[in-house]
Symmetry: C2
Subunit: 419 residues, 2 copies
């Protein structure tokens, strides 16, 4: 995409009303726009990055047999009353509204109830399980605080997967497969090394759940990490009893602030019992389906990545989540430079490379400063100097390596970009 | 995808609580699930079709220079108060809810206000226009009636595009480009011949707007069509004065029921004035941006298509919107048939063909009846008979042509499928 065409520009001024780095930087870079406290829109660059993350998660969910669906924001209180989550503990998280024709409805903040209801149309006999449904769908949560940019918002797309198994044994196999798929997601988006599978409270569902926590100064959680074993405990379960059970010594663990990037729950028969999601087993007995739920917030992932790779001077995004594969920058407006840059842009885009091409009339200093903020990790620079040498300058911002002159032949450039 | 893996099955019974054909058929086919009145979830097959339609619309919007964004459901009343649409005429369409921290917010039923607010961050000088932002985003509308299946729902994804131009002249050029892109969308999803660009009321914005109306018995609107000229009038503007102005004679027009599948509006300076979206022109004067808005509902499109190609006995979807390119059906469970069908499935999927493969143990009659409901237009049948002949039977359901025996070599089959 030509940058002269891109609707947004990098903003020089740091937004004064944002305390979190991720929001400050992403607003300046033209990735997001603040609609109101805790509510952000995605602009063209930000949506491209969000969609890259969504694409990676989708691949991993398809890889473990997930089938994609799309449920609703509007929630029928009936099914939530059956599980006891329409009122009570969950009261504060709900946004509730009224139908014009009469009757209260809610806005979904999770989807165990409606998907259990839906699964009643699917499940009859033991032949109908297991199956795994997932979605990328907008959740609404009536959060009290909203000061962490896109790490915690009142409205966000969530990837939530729900598993429907015959029994605990079948469930455990899938649960572990999903945990492994989650770790692959975190590795692919570049936060694998700092992310730990973390024992956490199982809430109302079971004794424990598994969180995936990324060590991060801006994180709202506190975890205790056993680096050698690669496991961690959330502070909420950091007790002598739990430590003894997991055969961990307090002195082997280090305390870190962390941000939860994923959470997987064994639901068991909590919802299938409540909503009557039963199947007939081989002996003709009606048995509740054994369920699990598995969540990742793609926008929070983007926020965590930005917190890790960013500062108010800019960021270097992992290639897998950058909005474009390469930032092509033309310096100077001579016909030679413009012609060479145009040719390179065409040659690369023709070969399917996603290029952001800064074709604007601006100084080199301004272009580089903006490019630092936009955060694309690989840069190609065309200038009078490179044209005179018949070359193009290549900068891998992630390594900090000095720019290198490459031949302008596309094959060689493609090789560098895919290295 | 193997049908033994697909979570949903075709339902024999017609849902008793659905009056509209599209909902009855899509529920039976396992495309959608009714969450509550006027609220439907998309299941794997339905989401695939919805995403095909979204993909076609996206291509056409990118083709006219649209840049994709993603705005929010939650709406800040402040910006709607500035335009006067927070209370008053729009009162009934809003879903409103309360922030836990205090304050009322709404759920977006359209996005002129928030996108005008957002555009204030983008627009400074005349160099910043024109640009065109669009999204696929979930709208909430507090509809009084909800009896038309997915033709009119309380929650639906809408493609809404907003144009920001320097003046009326620039706007008119884009407006026509968008109208043409809309007609290409309708042609590509298979309803082009029955869809007319239709003069309609401009509402609060301008004298006229352009609707795109598809002639359909189940449609809620009434239009008057001039077939020769390929134009139509919505009943709401079917007056002598308008007819005279458009140089149309009452007797040349035919009345039809129709369903609105798209709507484009000249907004002019209605919102840029109200919200202060100004740019500095070449002479240093502050000028309001000249705006337009352009909507298509992908799920309604799917509903219209189903109404056109469906009956309670089944449907033949246009290839462009079918969830899979071909329905491969294995008849019989002998090793020969299973082996041949498995081979064909692998060969086709390896070449990127999207295949739904009915590998289940069921009678031929049941399989064909289900396949009729699922609606994939092209069918490949592997049976003892075809295997004995070293062939596979190909049925193009759209032409109603008898099945033809093809060689099992994939190249020839691919040729038929792309014909």
């Amino acid at each position: 995409m030509r940058q002269s065409f891109l609707a947004t520009r990098v903003r020089k001024e740091v937004p004064v009303d944002e305390v979190s780095l991720n929001a400050r930087l992403l607003i300046r870079a033209g990735y997001i726009h603040k609609t109101m406290a805790g509510v952000y829109s995605f602009l063209p660059l930000g949506l491209r990055s969000l969609n890259k993350i969504i694409g990676i998660i989708r691949e991993e969910m398809e890889g473990i047999g997930g089938q994609e669906v799309l449920l609703n924001g509007l929630q029928n209180p009936e099914v939530w009353e059956q599980s006891g989550r329409w009122r009570g503990d969950a009261d504060e998280v709900w946004f509730r509204t009224q139908l014009r024709v009469g009757g209260e409805v809610g806005l979904g903040w999770t989807h165990e109830e409606p998907i259990t209801d839906l699964a009643r149309q699917i499940v009859h006999s033991y032949r109908d399980v297991p199956f795994y449904l997932y979605q990328f769908q907008t959740k609404f949560r009536n959060e009290e605080r909203a000061k962490s940019g896109i790490l915690r918002t009142r409205e966000f797309i969530m990837k939530d997967l729900y598993s429907f198994c015959a029994d605990e044994e079948e469930h455990k196999v899938f649960y572990e497969q999903c945990a492994e798929a989650y770790m692959r997601v975190f590795e692919r988006v570049g936060i694998g090394q700092q992310t730990y599978r973390t024992f956490a409270s199982g809430g109302a569902f079971s004794e424990f759940s598994d969180e995936f926590q990324t060590v991060l100064p801006a994180g709202e959680d506190v975890i205790y990490v056993h680096k050698e074993k690669g496991v961690a405990l959330n502070k909420e379960v950091y007790t002598d009893a739990v430590l003894a059970r997991l055969e961990l010594q307090r002195e082997e663990l280090e305390e870190y602030p962390a941000c939860e990037v994923g959470n997987i729950f064994t639901l068991g028969m909590r919802f299938s019992d409540a909503l009557g999601l039963l199947y007939t087993d081989g002996r003709g007995t009606q048995v509740p389906v054994y369920m699990g739920s598995y969540g990742i917030g793609p926008a929070r992932l983007l926020g965590v990545i930005v917190e890790m790779v960013g500062s108010d001077a800019g960021m270097v995004l992992p290639a897998a989540v950058a909005p474009f594969a390469v930032h092509l920058i033309a310096l100077g407006e001579s016909d030679v430079v413009q012609g060479a840059a145009d040719d390179l842009y065409s040659a690369l885009t023709d070969r399917g490379v996603e290029v952001l091409y800064d074709d604007r009339a601006m100084s080199a200093g301004e272009k580089f400063a903006e490019s630092d903020i936009v955060g694309i990790p690989r840069r190609l620079v065309v200038s009078e100097k490179t044209c005179a040498a018949g070359k193009v300058e290549y900068v891998d911002r992630a390594t900090g390596e000095e720019g290198r002159l490459l031949d302008t032949a596309v094959a060689g450039i493609l090789q560098e970009l895919s290295a």
